[in-house]
Symmetry: C2
Amino acid sequence: MARSQRNTAPPRHPDVAELDLLDILHALSDRTRMTIVRTLWTGPERVCGTFPVDVAPSTLSHHFRVLREAGLIHQRDEGTKRWTSLRRNDIEARFPGLVGHIVDAFERA
Amino acid sequence: MARSQRNTAPPRHPDVAELDLLDILHALSDRTRMTIVRTLWTGPERVCGTFPVDVAPSTLSHHFRVLREAGLIHQRDEGTKRWTSLRRNDIEARFPGLVGHIVDAFERA
């Protein structure tokens, strides 16, 4: 399906069994994406424009896509808004303790 | 200094205080580089051609450089051989438990 045809489709999310460690490490190796994950780690679902990051909307969309394709976040559309949450239970089921350890290290650094 | 002039200089290594979490995650987000780190995690210093990876020498040099610049490995030249070891004590001092946790997750995956 062409990319333009998918723009209004709901975002796709990988299954828990598909979560890949190298994809997750790559997703977390960027300051903006790590900040998004850290913000969601201890907080509730948020609307996309409310994260404490300073990047252009198109750049932010790219970062959300990388995080979503790595299985770190879940996104759902409600009217004109896209809500983002962390797939914390799924991540813990697949890689127990891993992302929490990384987020802790980021906060201490 | 031009790159060509540095080819025979000993490899440079960042100080412990310079080790950056995002650089380390990026370095570990590649299967070849993760395999190198996993091999060194439980083993001694090795000569460069002896790692269980299947990539061209120029590609391997690139991967070693990424790992070295992230502070994960130490390299030293002895005659015509380059020996590589893990900077395990330095990594543990800067990010206690982190890389071990990631290596464990890679082995279980």
